[in-house]
Symmetry: C2
Subunit: 348 residues, 2 copies
């Protein structure tokens, strides 16, 4: 079945090059994809010309406007009505595209997505979720930066969405959900995390709530879903990225500075290192989902390449095909939240 993805051709450090090359790459593994590409025609068209098959599967819509990387979300929302980013989001709202993908300004994309698509029934605020490497198996972490300050109810909703995501998208049969805190004891942390813990423990949902987890538990893979506010989640994500980068570069430095023995050793062990590189390749984990929106929007890392952008497209297609949003609506219906539509409530 053909699936059309709306793409912001102008978002990201190396746009539009990586967007077009990423789409071509995604099409290789999923030939039924089609694209609605928004961007600056004189720049995008020549690139598209290099990919014969992609050209036949792509509708190009010209717009000279794009959202600057450093633009304030409110400014982007007001002044970017004809930007490539906004038009890609509009395409989802209007049913022209099943999902939108952008590597542009995260805050602007979230502001536009919330404004245009609104949230799912029962969800007050969307969250940014991503899959991160952990010792045992990858873990879903949210919120990664959409909501700087959160209440207990927000964290509860994030937990519901993250659990659905883990089940539907990663195939974990009974995901364990943890709340990120400074310790695992019940009395740890402030009112918000403790309130969310109470809500999760007393919830009618069949969520496997593990309780509080600490930073070290995240990478250990003690739980499948880690729930936190957007401030802490964003810092945690970037600290993990930074630590991995520091480690990798220190490894390279000691090999380089270690003389012939170290260099020969590295050459011999190179296939093993390749396995390691593959395991932690951030491109594999590219594509952060805006969970809780009434539509599918995926944010690619701004500094990614074609491989990473193709991964973000694959995430968007997967979210649509697996009906993730409907599963979240059903689950929120089961919580007995007052705001759910009648259809979802009677189905529960």
């Amino acid at each position: 079945m053909s699936l059309t993805i709306g793409l912001d051709a102008m978002g990201g450090d190396a746009a539009p090059g990586i967007v077009v090359a990423g789409a071509a790459r995604a099409l290789e593994s999923q030939p039924d994809l089609a694209f609605l590409l928004f961007g600056d025609l004189p720049r995008v068209e020549p690139l598209l010309g290099q990919h014969e098959r992609l050209r036949t599967r792509t509708t190009l819509r010209h717009t000279p406007d794009s959202v600057a990387g450093g633009a304030k979300p409110s400014t982007a929302l007001r002044q970017g009505r004809n930007s490539s980013m906004r038009l890609a989001v509009n395409a989802v709202k209007e049913g022209e595209a099943a999902a939108a993908v952008s590597a542009g300004n995260t805050g602007a994309l979230m502001a536009m997505a919330k404004f245009v698509l609104k949230t799912l029934p029962g969800i007050d605020r969307p969250a940014i979720a991503s899959v991160l490497p952990a010792r045992q198996r990858p873990v879903v972490v949210l919120d990664l930066g959409a909501n700087i300050e959160c209440g207990a109810e927000d964290l509860f909703q994030f937990a519901v969405m993250g659990e659905v995501f883990s089940r539907v998208m990663l195939g974990v049969s009974k995901p364990r959900v943890g709340l990120l805190n400074v310790g695992t004891e019940e009395l740890k942390g402030g009112e918000v995390v403790r309130g969310a813990a109470t809500m999760l423990r007393e919830s009618r949902l069949a969520i496997d709530f593990h309780g509080f987890v600490e930073g070290t538990d995240v990478t250990e893979g003690v739980v499948d879903v880690v729930v936190t506010d957007g401030f802490t989640g964003n810092v945690a994500l970037k600290i993990a990225e930074g630590t991995a980068a520091m480690f990798t570069s220190a490894l390279r430095d000691v090999i380089r500075g270690g003389g012939w023995r170290a260099k020969l050793g590295y050459l011999l062990a190179r296939p093993a290192f390749a396995v390691l590189r593959e395991k932690f390749d951030s491109r594999r984990y590219n594509g952060a989902m805006f969970l809780g929106l009434n539509g599918v929007v995926v944010k690619s890392h701004g500094g990614t390449d074609a491989v990473g952008f193709a991964a973000a497209i694959a995430v968007a297609a997967d979210l649509v095909r697996k009906g993730t949003n409907q599963r979240i609506i059903d689950e929120m219906g089961a919580t007995g939240a007052a705001t759910i539509p009648v259809a979802a409530a009677t189905a529960s």
Copy 2:
């Protein structure tokens, strides 16, 4: 000059063994140290008997009480009046010891230290500070968990203390100070971090305020001092530890699973790996300071060994010898804070 350190012999996963062995080790490199050791005599005395020189430099005070690792700080404060931890802190208050070191329950130690020693003039709340590895040079991070919720004024005070620490203890001549946030732009983050940024920009102090830093900037070493609230700092610290541990174990796994080539490669490159291990050895960074107290208290990691505990003792001795607390008092006096004593105010 002889310097007496009060030790909680019963705190830590492997206490009292690592405490006694750590003290013996610290004494090897600093022969002028002396110890006031609080703990369970029948358990501690035989261990002390194994270290001839340490025995001559140690006064042992018996107490059967100790603070449980999972005890609530308020309970420990109420019920632990005769605990080894409390007596070590009391010794600082009474001038019997120049500093106290414990590998026990962090929350209990902080509660006791605040109750017994009070804070320095101008400081409302003490913070836990530690030195972490970063790409260029180690970075001071605070607060790592003493204050779950902080106001702008708290973060401002942490910045002043962290800057003094970097200068006095690490010898950085003009430390750059950053506030941890979800982005570097001025409009990022909530009211608290933005309020603290304003205070730091407008301060009369000669602090080199860099502005906001993100998680990746911490490990890059963009600044020398990273200031954050205790919730975010604690999560960040443990995420960094967890990521490093995950990376190390993945490296070991690929070498082990990589056949003879990988194993031979590892053997050849082993000296290089040893350099790496040394660089990231958490024992080197052991010893978190409780900054802002009217006395020196250092918390060792609970799971450390003798090498790590000796490092924590060295940190305590260094804090005392360099007169860090007086430097903080002087610096806070220079801010013109209302609470400073007359002596410090006229000196500014």
